[in-house]
């Protein structure tokens, strides 16, 4: 990739090649056949045509992004150059914790077919660096020797959850030089936003069809049921967007919204519903269908009018949603073509479908595949319901409910604090949420197949498809509803869910598991492992102690429900909308700030594993865990991309990353602990941290934690404080009831404490600091005292009042008085001399010389042999070392000033007790 590397340094010139054709009348965008790129000052011109594999400029100069080019388009002025791509991933782009899933060491030139939905597949054509060869390696054949540098190999696909074997069909090359097709007649006005790109053959072919339902409808126009449902679905979708975003109807905004909404899990599901139906619109080319489409659009309009403020959007929306992946994300809704591809796939499969058409509820694998393909998503209960009931309002009602369901889940989780994950698990798998969680694998593999198929399809078969598919539909639909299928899927889901649970729990605990293949030159940090495994707690007290240790991760966090809910909602909404934001959280130490956020992230990660929300990355930095505020950049970048660079460079890279519209961007949730330590004189670190989320393309959520409530006002300059915003939360110190609840929930029915003893501890701590850590430590100490107080550790009973009292005494009592009592006679005498001198002077300060005079007098009174000055100094220094006295530097010798570090009363009290 060296050659691109060098090219980066020069200016590249891009020119459209071929004849532009009108692609979208409304948006005035054009499709183009190929792109000529040349480097300034050089003759050579590289021509890039759709179908070729290209390299795209990314964050990492050495490893640009790889993608397959699908289409070019641009605006009227030819200034804006865009392209649609199918992404490929390098292993380095796969999230750290998922890399292990590969199960083998990657080939250096290996890439993965990307099946996720999180990445925008529209890119700026000017970020194309050049072409590259990509070869598909069948699954069981080994990789070729890494000889040719410019060839990449693809074997597996990656769907953000797992590596799968890549269907070779997906990878079959379309001839790079497919002659562009003449422009098609334009669509009827109502469908205009969905105008198809004409650049490629398959594209058009795709038009007629995908949804068998609709096709069938085309055959029998009287059967409007499907149409209706299609309309409903798109409305539903519009509604969901509406509810999700709660934003104005302004065109661009809503279009954008739609894009992001397509990413959110709740909405995605609905999207998928509509996908099944939307192809109906694509059939527009067939005259028969025109009418039908109109009708459909009509109905859609009517409903969407009710729901969303702009009809055109919902219309556009319905169309744009059809691509099953994030194609619809583009703000101007130009991207139409993934659905073409998908429709074609039906052709390939249609023979089987035809054959099996009459079989109802066939459970053969091929059948299932088809069904998945036909509706794009596996049987969705909602869809089935809708279809059968045929009531227009239901889906609408369904959507918000289902949306809310995720929220309900959350609150349920909180309410039920205990057995949290298990509960959720059940809820999800039991409830009709089932329909929310399509088994992704199926989905994606099918869509991939569709895609490739589309590429190899010939035009001639086009009509065949349109004829064939319709008849397939009904049986397929039934298939979808068939219990056997859905059961199976539920099973799959359950197991996935469980896996998900496990992984959701671990991340914060064991990020260390990550392998860092990109930096092999660095040693792996690890502590040697022990030869004998740690012993497990033996008796009740030991068990209680283990549970009370601050480090033990509790099943739930009691007493922080409200805060949890607020933070959860904040982060969830940002992740769903794909926007950014800041939040400032304050509270004295030990009030559960960091723990609550970790809990939130754990829940969100769980939700994202369950496909309820889009995936996101969680990054944590701690101001205390870095040597310099600027190291924050380095750590963030390293956690994001695994690069190790200097602070300045990292700042620049991050700036670039967050301000440029990069492809493949998922929301990043950044937790900044101990924010106050990131303070610098210019405050540029804090400024950047709060400025990035405000960038349009950043998708960054920053959660900051510090101890003081007024930190923004106290240490931040205005422009920083203003960017931090007003989303603030403060964690109050725990009250004694809460502390008691925390201990009880931690102990979780291990009966080790007397009720009164617990209350004493929690009241004492609540009165002093409300620090939960302190509370737990005291309890732990009390169990130890209890254990030692009895002769046999096994016979130790409950922790009682007296044990707790002893522990409290140990931890809270000041040691000064004991220290004075234990001091030697001369030391005590010196302290008395100090007080006597203070009284004489009426000041709280005296020089050693003055005190020493008193000391001599006192020792004469006590009948002791007076000590020499050197000895006196030694005594004084000893007291100073214990900090009973505060001394000036000892080089001042006799002139050093002496102060008491304890109150005079305490000294007198202690000395009096000694004499008595």
């Amino acid at each position: 990739m060296v050659r691109y590397f060098t090219r980066l340094r020069m200016r590249r010139i891009y020119k459209w090649g071929g004849r532009p054709y009108i692609f979208d009348r409304k948006l005035k965008s054009y499709g183009f056949e190929y792109l000529n790129m040349s480097v300034e000052g050089q003759e050579a011109v590289t021509t890039v045509t759709p179908g070729q594999y290209i390299l795209i400029e990314g964050n990492d100069d050495e490893y640009p992004f790889v993608a397959k080019l699908l289409k070019f388009f641009g605006d009227e002025s030819h200034k804006q150059k865009k392209a649609l791509v199918q992404w490929f991933l390098r292993l380095s782009e796969v999230p750290q914790n998922k890399k292990l899933l590969l199960g083998r060491s990657p080939h250096p030139q290996e890439i993965f077919y990307y099946l996720g939905r999180a990445c925008d597949n529209e890119i700026n054509a000017e970020s194309i660096l050049g072409t590259v060869d990509v070869q598909h390696v069948p699954e069981d054949t080994p990789f070729p020797e890494p000889g040719t540098k410019d060839t990449l190999y693809v074997k597996l696909s990656w769907d953000t959850k797992a590596f799968n074997v890549l269907d070779p069909v997906l990878m079959q090359d379309t001839p790079a030089s497919t002659p562009p097709k003449p422009a098609l007649p334009l669509f009827p006005p109502c469908a205009s936003p969905t105008a198809t790109p004409v650049s490629r053959g398959p594209v058009r072919r795709a038009l007629p069809t995908p949804d068998p339902t609709v096709m069938r409808r085309a055959g029998s126009v009287s059967d409007t049921r499907a149409t209706m449902s299609a309309g409903k679905r798109s409305t539903l979708e519009a509604e969901s967007i509406h509810s999700a975003s709660k934003l104005s109807a302004s065109k661009i905004l809503s279009a954008k919204r739609r894009g992001s909404a397509a990413d959110t899990p709740g909405v995605r599901k609905k999207l998928q519903l509509s996908i099944g139906a939307s192809p109906g619109k694509k059939m527009t080319r067939a005259d028969v269908l025109c009418e039908l489409l109109d009708e459909e659009m009509e109905s859609e309009k009517v409903i969407s009018l009710k729901l969303s403020s702009s009809v055109s959007h919902s219309l556009q929306h319905g169309c744009s949603l059809s691509p099953m992946r994030s194609g619809c994300k583009t703000p101007n809704g130009q991207r139409r073509f993934p659905w073409k591809l998908s429709s074609i796939s039906l052709d390939r499969l249609s023979p089987t479908a035809l054959g099996e058409q009459d079989l109802s509820r066939a459970t053969t694998p091929s059948r299932r595949k088809e069904s998945a393909m036909a509706i794009r998503k596996p049987a969705l209960g909602v869809l089935a319901e809708e279809d059968s009931e045929d009531s227009p309002m239901q889906p609408i009602a369904l959507t918000p409910r289902s949306k809310r369901k995720s929220a309900q889940l959350v609150s349920l989780r909180i309410r039920k604090q205990l057995n949290l994950l298990d509960n959720t698990q059940e809820l999800i798998s039991d409830g009709d949420d089932d329909c929310f969680v399509p088994s992704k694998k199926d989905l994606q593999s099918s869509s991939d197949e569709e895609k490739t198929d589309s590429e190899e399809e010939t035009r001639g078969r086009n009509c065949k498809t349109s004829v064939r598919t319709p008849c397939k539909t009904p049986s397929k639909k039934k298939d979808l509803q068939s219990s056997s299928d859905s059961e199976e899927e539920t099973m799959v889901r359950k197991t996935r869910g469980r896996n998900g649970k496990a992984s959701a729990r671990t991340p914060c605990k064991t990020p260390s598991k990550k392998v860092t293949p990109s930096t092999p030159r660095h040693a792996t940090p690890s502590i040697p492992s022990r030869t004998v495994p740690a012993r497990q707690p033996g008796n009740i007290l030991e068990e209680a102690r283990a549970r009370l240790h601050v480090s033990s991760v509790p099943e739930s966090l009691p007493c922080r429900e409200q805060e949890f809910q607020d933070i959860y909602n904040f982060v969830e909404s940002k992740v769903m909308d794909g926007t950014g934001g800041c939040m400032y959280i304050s509270g004295v130490p030990g009030t559960g700030k960091t723990a609550t956020i970790h809990e939130v992230i754990r829940c969100l990660q769980h939700a994202s594993d369950m496909d309820e929300i889009p995936t996101f990355r969680f990054i944590e930095i701690n101001g205390m865990k870095m040597t310099d505020p600027h190291q924050a950049y380095v750590q963030i970048l390293q956690k994001l991309t695994d690069q190790k660079v200097t602070a300045d460079h990292a700042a620049a890279l991050l700036e670039k990353r967050f301000s440029n519209p990069a492809p493949k961007k998922e929301t990043t949730v950044l937790l900044v602990d101990e924010l106050d330590l990131l303070w610098t004189r210019k405050q540029n670190v804090m400024y950047n941290l709060f400025d990035w989320p405000t960038r349009r393309h950043a998708r960054l959520v920053v959660l900051t934690i510090a101890n003081t409530m007024d930190l923004p006002e106290r240490i931040m300059i205005n422009r920083v404080a203003s960017r931090l915003g007003l989303t603030r939360m403060s964690f109050q110190p725990y009250s004694f009831k809460q502390l008691q609840q925390i201990i009880t929930s931690r102990l979780n029915k291990v009966k080790a404490f007397e009720e009164d003893a617990l209350q004493l501890v929690s009241r004492k701590v609540a009165a002093l600091s409300g620090d939960a850590r302190r509370c737990l430590d005291i309890c732990r100490r009390a169990t130890e005292i209890c254990e030692h107080s009895t002769s046999h550790p096994s016979s130790a009973g409950l922790v009682r009042m007296n044990h707790v009292m002893e522990a409290l005494d140990e931890m809270f009592s000041s040691s000064y008085i004991t220290a004075i009592r234990c001091a030697s006679l001369q030391e005590q005498l010196f302290l008395r001399a100090v007080i006597a001198e203070f009284r004489r002077l009426g000041l709280e300060e005296a020089t050693f010389q003055q005190v020493f005079v008193q000391h001599r007098a006192l020792s004469r009174v006590e009948g002791l042999q007076p000590i020499s000055v050197s000895e006196g100094l030694a005594v004084c220094q000893r007291l100073g070392a214990c900090r009973l006295l505060l001394l000036e530097a000892s080089r001042l010798d006799m002139l050093q000033r002496v102060r008491l570090n304890v109150s005079q009363d305490d000294v007198l009290y202690a000395l009096k007790a000694v004499r008595d």
Binding site: S529, E810, C822
Partner: protein, 429 residues
């Protein structure tokens, strides 16, 4: 006094003496740990239990051992560690890391030292590579990677714990204590300090992460116990080869007095050991036992006032200047003086009272004055010395009147008029 050697030996006396000296020196110089720490049984048990739990159960802990200097903090810890490492399961399973606040003066050095002692993978030979930030990240990553049951517990022993609290942001303490409070590799953070107010040095979030266990080592020995201790310190072990020494406590009043005085001054064993060491070094082949006089002499050496010794070595002129300063102090109630004032006072004495001392030139007096300054018997008060002429620099006397009077009494061949002057100042007429 205490030890008399009864000889029924096959060894020559000289050899016996060297054996005895070897054994006792080892003891007094803290080269060998005592069998069992005395007078701190409960603390010993507490600490041992705590560390055992870390070693065996992988429970993270943090503890501070607080006590005045010489109270046996390190000794206690070392005893506990020795005992702990004797357990079979444990000795291969713990990684002790020793740090000292006086050696690791900042976090950068401390981190390198930790990494080196843990022998992590970025250690090559004996060197630790990488920047401060890298080292920190590496160590934290390593600790984070561990978990309670499978990784070896690390014992961080921070001697002079209070000095670590002065490091920038207390980064190291925060991180160590944070690890001890989270589910990472099991660690025990043991801090040794003599400052009673050490917790106040910790920043609030560092403090919150500390478990607030403090083990106080405050000796409450009575004098009887103290004497017992001296006895046991001087007695020879049972298995002393070849010769039979037996101990006989000589209840000589003078020895008890000496020890009582010593006890009054300080209860810690270091000063006692110092005293006994001095006495021990006087034992030789010709004088094979410690006598009370030895101890008295040793005590005298210990107690001696260092400044009185300096005063004995001064010339008459310098002594006169010091007396002049004393009078100035009396007149001006401790206000600082300058050379000119001292010189005037001195001249007054010469003119009115002196019989034995003749006049000195001013440069000679200045020289004497500077010598006193070099001996730090007088100290310049203001720091910006350069600007002011030498004669007018403000000075203060670092001697107590009693010291001056005592020195004059002992000064060999001190002229009587000088002595007289020291007692009665020259009065203005």
């Amino acid at each position: 006094m205490s030890k008399r050697k009864v000889k029924e030996t096959h060894m020559p006396v000289g050899e016996c003496i060297s054996q005895v000296q070897m054994i006792l020196r080892e003891r007094f110089c803290h080269q060998r740990l005592p069998e069992k720490p005395v007078g701190m049984e409960s603390q010993h048990k507490h600490l041992l239990e705590l560390l055992r739990r870390t070693a065996v159960h992988g429970e993270s802990n943090s503890v501070l051992i607080v006590g005045p200097r010489g109270s046996g903090k390190t000794m206690l810890l070392n005893c506990v560690l020795r005992e702990l490492l004797e357990v079979k399961d444990v000795n291969k399973n713990v990684l002790p890391v020793h740090l000292n606040g006086l050696l690791q003066t900042d976090d950068r050095i401390a981190l390198k030292e930790i990494t080196r002692q843990l022998n992590l993978e970025n250690v090559v030979g004996d060197k630790v590579f990488g920047s401060f930030a890298e080292n920190l990240a590496f160590l934290l990553e390593a600790l984070k990677k561990g978990d309670r049951s499978s990784s070896r517990p690390v014992l961080f022993i921070l001697d002079e714990f209070d000095l670590f609290a002065h490091h920038k942001n207390q980064t190291l303490l925060y991180n160590l204590l944070d690890v001890s409070q989270s589910a990472q590799a099991p660690v025990a953070v043991i801090g040794l300090t003599c400052r009673l107010d050490v917790l106040e040095l910790l920043e609030k979030r560092v403090k919150s992460r500390f478990s607030h266990r403090q083990i106080h080592l405050l000796s409450s020995l009575s004098f009887i116990q103290y004497l017992d201790n001296v006895r046991s310190q001087l007695s020879l072990p049972q298995d002393f080869p070849d010769t039979n020494f037996y101990d006989e406590w000589n209840d000589d009043q003078s020895v008890v007095d000496v020890l009582q005085r010593h006890y009054n001054s300080s209860k810690d064993f270091r000063s006692l050991h110092l005293l006994l060491m001095l006495a021990l070094s006087r034992v030789s082949a010709s004088k094979p036992a410690i006598k009370p006089t030895d101890l008295l002499e040793a005590s005298r050496v210990c107690m001696v006032d260092s400044k009185a010794n300096i005063l004995h070595g001064l010339s008459i002129l310098e002594l006169c200047l010091i007396i002049a300063m004393k009078h100035l102090n009396d007149i001006y109630e401790g206000e600082p003086f300058n050379f000119q004032m001292v010189h005037n006072e001195f001249k007054k004495f010469l003119q009115r009272k002196s019989h034995s001392i003749h006049n000195f030139d001013k440069p000679v007096v200045i020289k004497a004055f500077e010598h006193l300054q070099q001996l730090e018997l007088i100290k310049s008060m203001d720091s910006s010395t350069a600007k002011i002429q030498k004669e007018y620099q403000l000075m203060k006397l670092l001697l107590d009147h009693s010291q001056i009077m005592e020195a004059l009494q002992k000064y060999p061949q001190c002229p009587t008029d000088v002595k007289q002057w020291a007692i009665v100042p020259v009065l203005e007429t």
